[in-house]
């Protein structure tokens, strides 16, 4: 196995479970099938939402909260929280983690979230602006915070380890992923559910339209959740968990300095790239300075298939793990218009078995 550009400190962190809710459907199998087909799943935005036509989005239409919990219970969550609660349960099950069989303080939740909370904020404010203080619905307010998704997931599954939510442009999930790795390295937890969750709403599209972003970064937005069960390798092997992939080094920069672009790119890609598969996320597919440095190996752009979102990294990293053959090396690249940028090395299968 090729091990270029890898920080040895990260060799022993592995993925032992996955979950996905996306425009491809609910669960890992629909995502795997969509990746194999490679066809775009974005659909036209229904009429009446935007003044302009021809816009596409990637709604998770197959997701029904009632398939997973009583409707009355579902009502207390915002849509992002529903995605996170359900996907977290699927990820735990996929990793063979039975509730009650682990110390809850040793399992954390660290998620990226883009537009979480905005819908509840809009609904709460709409009530206030149209009917004054009498129109405020207190039940909406707790879930206006972007951390509602990760927090509700921890509450529902009784996970008491580190609980953090991150956002940073199109690299919100990658930011969470880096933090989760560090928490495992520091022994703050044995297992962390990480990845990203996001939603796309008519109001968001109207906001993108008002800002003139529907022809740039606001085009083709998607929604859903991609959650990876990140675990220390020794912990995973001790409990005989299936290991889906290993995580290599993570390199990141905040933004490219004017006059020092080459230095920034060199920090992301310091040596020859020997990956067998490259996955591009966020705005990386359009970054020429980055793409020019990459070898001619298969590339995957999950955003083209599922839709883009600020926390699409959760689904994009899940897509990489699903697509990487055992023993193969993967390179994951994510970028945002004003930064940050990430490069993450991956190994298919269990690195310990190769």
């Amino acid at each position: 196995m090729k091990r270029a550009n890898v920080n040895p400190a990260y060799h022993d962190t592995v993925i032992t479970g996955l979950a996905a809710i996306s425009s491809a459907g609910v669960g890992i199998d629909p995502l795997r099938e969509a990746l194999e087909r490679g066809e775009c799943l974005l659909k036209p935005v229904p009429e009446g939402i935007l003044a302009e036509s021809g816009q596409l989005w990637g709604k998770a239409d197959a997701f029904r909260a009632a398939d997973f919990m009583p409707p009355l219970k579902a009502r207390k969550f915002d849509r992002c929280s529903l995605f996170a609660v359900v996907a977290a349960g699927m990820a735990l099950k996929d990793a063979g983690i039975v509730p009650g069989s682990f110390d809850p303080t040793r399992i954390g939740v660290v998620l990226g979230c883009g537009f979480g909370g905005i819908s509840n904020a809009e609904e709460f404010l709409r009530g206030y602006f149209t009917s004054g203080a009498e129109g405020m619905v207190p039940m909406l307010f707790p879930n206006i915070v972007p951390n509602a998704s990760a927090s509700n997931a921890s509450i529902e599954h009784k996970l008491k380890g580190p609980n953090v939510t991150t956002i940073q442009r199109f690299c919100s999930a990658e930011s969470a992923f880096l933090m989760a790795l560090r928490f495992l390295e520091e022994d703050r937890a044995d297992i962390i559910l990480t990845g990203g969750v996001d939603e796309v709403t008519p109001l968001m599209l109207r906001g993108f339209s008002a800002l003139g972003q529907l022809r740039s970064y606001g085009s083709g937005f998607g929604e859903g959740a991609g959650i990876l069960v990140l675990e220390r390798g020794d912990h995973a092997r001790k409990r005989k968990a299936k290991v889906l992939a290993g995580v290599g080094g993570v390199r990141t920069i905040g933004r490219l300095a004017s006059g020092a672009v080459r230095e920034g790119i060199n920090r992301l890609l310091p040596g020859p790239c020997e990956a067998d598969l490259i996955v591009l996320s966020g705005t990386a597919p359009g970054e020429r300075d980055l793409l020019d440095r990459l070898p001619a190996v298969p590339r995957l752009e999950p955003g083209q298939i599922l839709g883009r979102s600020l926390a699409m990294g959760g689904l994009a990293m899940t897509s990489l793990v699903l697509s990487l053959a055992p023993g193969a090396q993967g390179l994951y690249l994510a970028a945002s218009p004003e930064g940050p940028w990430y490069a993450i090395d991956w190994y298919g299968g269990d690195p310990d078995q190769l």
Binding site: C113, S154, V164, G264
Partner: protein, 404 residues
Amino acid sequence: MKSMQQNKIAVTGLGIFSAAGRNVASFKESLFAGRSAIGPIDLFDVGSFASGIGAQLHSYDPLDYFAPREARKLSRVDQFGIIAAGEALRDSAAASYYSPYDIGISLGAGASGMLQSEEWLRVSLTGKRGDPSLLRGLLPDRTATSIAATYNLCGYQVSITTACSSSASSIGWGADLVATGRVKAALCGGSDCLSILTFAGFNSLKVVDPAPCSPFSLGRQGISLGEGAAFLMLEDEAEAKRRGARICGYVLGYAAAGEAYHMTAPDPSGADAARAMSDALRYAGVTADQVGWVNAHGTGTPLNDAVESKAMKLVFGDRAPLVPLVSTKGMTGHCLGAAGSVEALATLVALNEGIIPQTLNFRGADPECDLDYCHAGSRPSASKIALSNSFAFGGNITSLVISA
């Protein structure tokens, strides 16, 4: 459990912009004088709420700090962040020493540009076209991006959004970033401002006190909201000394935990808050006996203050009555996303000055809050180590261990 860092993480710069002081010097004056910044709010109409007060940055004119074109592009929160971050950067002089790629940002965010965005919504609901530029700062990551662009900081950047513990987490995480060598210097802190959403929201939950908040007092009715920004520049101690930086303190360790209990109510036992505090001490390599006092989350809500007092007893045992638990929110208001960094900064300057700050607005002794809260006034202290607690919606708890 490992200690968090092999190398000590030094604080080499401080910056603050708040109602209690528009720079570190004036904030210190307010802190040491026990002067509250809580008063009437005129940033938006508060006439329909039970409370109409908070710690607002009155008479703030962006043009005192920004060119008109620049000011138009930045939300109030972004502006506060840039001003406070600038003070910390100048104080540390780190930018002239490191490559831009070696200086990162770890920012704690809250309501962000909601104040402007809600104006867009208000206008849109009348059927008119809202000014789209009001939406620019809606997402919480905008402040970090704006600070990075303003000061040409090109290292790692992230925004942490764990509600009221956001900026405490950002400081802990910033210390981690330096400890791992991912950046040489980390600008850590938070920025937040008053907005209709948060003001109306907390009022709808009936947790806003009509009078200035009175943490740990009998008859307290809740929070007083505030706004502002505070930043700490963190560096590896050895590297900071090598470049001749002034070191004004240390972040010795931190812990972040989830209560997994309820979105808005804390676990009444205080067990998870105590776990976070104890874990933070272990990561810092500090024993409970070494802690002189604790800067509480201390919001002034009936439940929070009682639970935090219980947690103190679990952490400090028989010594709990001897470890003052003080809240600076009676001075600064609850700055939400910026609260953790405002309080970390207050803790650090108080440790350096050798005082324990006063908890303001005492109304009477509460049997459920039976510890020492420094209600009578600030007092001298020889202690060099303190904890700073931040609790949040969703049960996101962060505890920082700070030393002079």
